[in-house]
Amino acid sequence: MNIIVSIKQVPDTTEVRIDPVTNTLVREGVPSIINPFDENAIECGLQLVEKHGGKVTVITMGPPQAQQALKDALAMGADEAILVSDRAFAGSDTLATSYTLAQTIKKLGEYDLIICGKQAFDGDTAQVGPGLAEHLGIPQVTYAIDIEVEGKKARVKRLLSDRFEVVETRLPCLITVVKQMNEPRHASLKNVMKARKKEIPTWTAADIEADESRCGLNGSPTNVVKVFAPQRHTQGERLEGDVNDVVERLVKILREKQVV
């Protein structure tokens, strides 16, 4: 199987501090890590290749220092890594990012499966994976907790908020994975040493034949109008007290909601 895993380098939010004066996040000196959900995506790719053969290619779009995330992915056991980096990509929103990654994958050629983490730790949009599938015109399955590949088909178990859903799709397709899917492996000494010997090529906008009007700020229709803390969803109402009383109130609520 030819598997492509698309990852993102993010600040290690467990190390982010808040400036006590300005109340903003202090990003300086904060170490960068592979987006944790993307580690699950890499692990998923490695396990599929262990089972079915093939190779795992990891790609990321980002500044030159994002190379470290790719090195870490190679140290986990990925076969190849490509950095897509160009000043033209600066300021990309999810649309421009997914376009750029799609161009990268088109240049890579044949593949069976693209795997992404369900979302990035910093932006939390969960849009780049699905956007990428749309740009490539392939099926997408999100929130996967288990993948079984048989020939040119994949059976994917999705983790939804209240149930599992099993879907079957043809390959090639794009799958985003949740953290419950697996436990990402640690970099073994052998893989660290192998990774050191591997070159990580950098592809520019020209290399991937990207239309610059669709990259970076130019290609990003998103405008950040306002940043605010969302209201917490209430987790439900707890009825307490005398049993008869509670049952009566419960029935009343269920009637109001037209459940019974």
Partner: protein, 386 residues
Amino acid sequence: MDFGFSEEQLELYEAVQEFCDDVLAPKAEETDAKGEFPWDNVKQMAQMDLFGIPVPEEYGGMGLSWMDWAVVGEQLAHACTTSGAVFAAHMLCMYPIMAFGSEEQKQKYLTPLATGEKIGAMGLTEPDVGSDAGSVKTKAKLVGDEYLLNGTKIFITNGGAAETYVVIANANPEKGMRGLTAFIVEKGMEGFEIGKNEKKMGFPSVPNTELIFQDARVPRENVLGREGRGFRVAMDLLDVGRIGMAIGAVGLAQKAYDDGVAYSLVREQFGQKISEFQAIQHQIADMAMEIEAGRLLARKAAWCKDNGSPELSKIAAMAKVYTSEVCARVCNRAVNIHGGHGYICDHAVQRYLRESKLFELVEGTSEIQRNVIALEVLKEAISQRK
């Protein structure tokens, strides 16, 4: 002289540290309390390629240095003393096969040990034989193509969990220590049984068992080196064993120090953190200084091993006695810094203090190490007078 590491070494140590922080350290307490061999940790250590660090790549190892083995051993002991002890004892079996084994023996026995697929142990100590290794009473008698081994070994680390054992027995008692011979013994060989697992002052999850040989049938091709070479094998592996003890002692001392310092930074008395009292500060300074000196000595011993230095026995003995005594002092101080809380089992420092005693006793007591050091330095002094 260079006290630094290469970029590659730093990357390797960083990978090991992540593994230690994520996997070993969070359950170190549980690993100790369980009283069972830490198979889960061992399997993951094998997946991390940690067991065969200095073993050549053609035998499943990493082809790295003894220095790398020493640094990683310290990291493991710091994260989880139990796992660190298994790691060090494993080398006592692997090293003699690596150094004295035939090509066939290396293929058959060294490779699965280096990959961590199998665990190893070494048997020298007997009920009546400790530091006086020359007086081993376990006998080996050649009958046809087999040796029949008779006798009992005790306190064997990794006993029972290990599938491969390097055992020292006497094949020619009239020749005394020149009759000593090293054998590779496999678990399950007829006449070889694992005996009692000792209850100890610490390390309940690291087995220390008897090995019982009653007409145990060991094929002739399992002799390591050749008949009569056992004393040399034992002395050589003890040098490596002493480096193993030294790095374990440094790792444990560093952990006790870390806990002591962390506690001093939060515990308040008389309106200030106790780390602000000079009495505590001087203890912290002494601990830091002694650990640093011990670490340097342990790494010098690893350097001697890497470079075939004739000073190896002396430096390894110095490293072992010094680091084990530093470890005991540091663990004692770390308990003191915790005050009464240090005596309570909710804090791990009391365990470190119990564990620290081990390092002063095994692979030769502190007294034996001083004998080795004195012998070596007097030899040097005499040769200089000539």
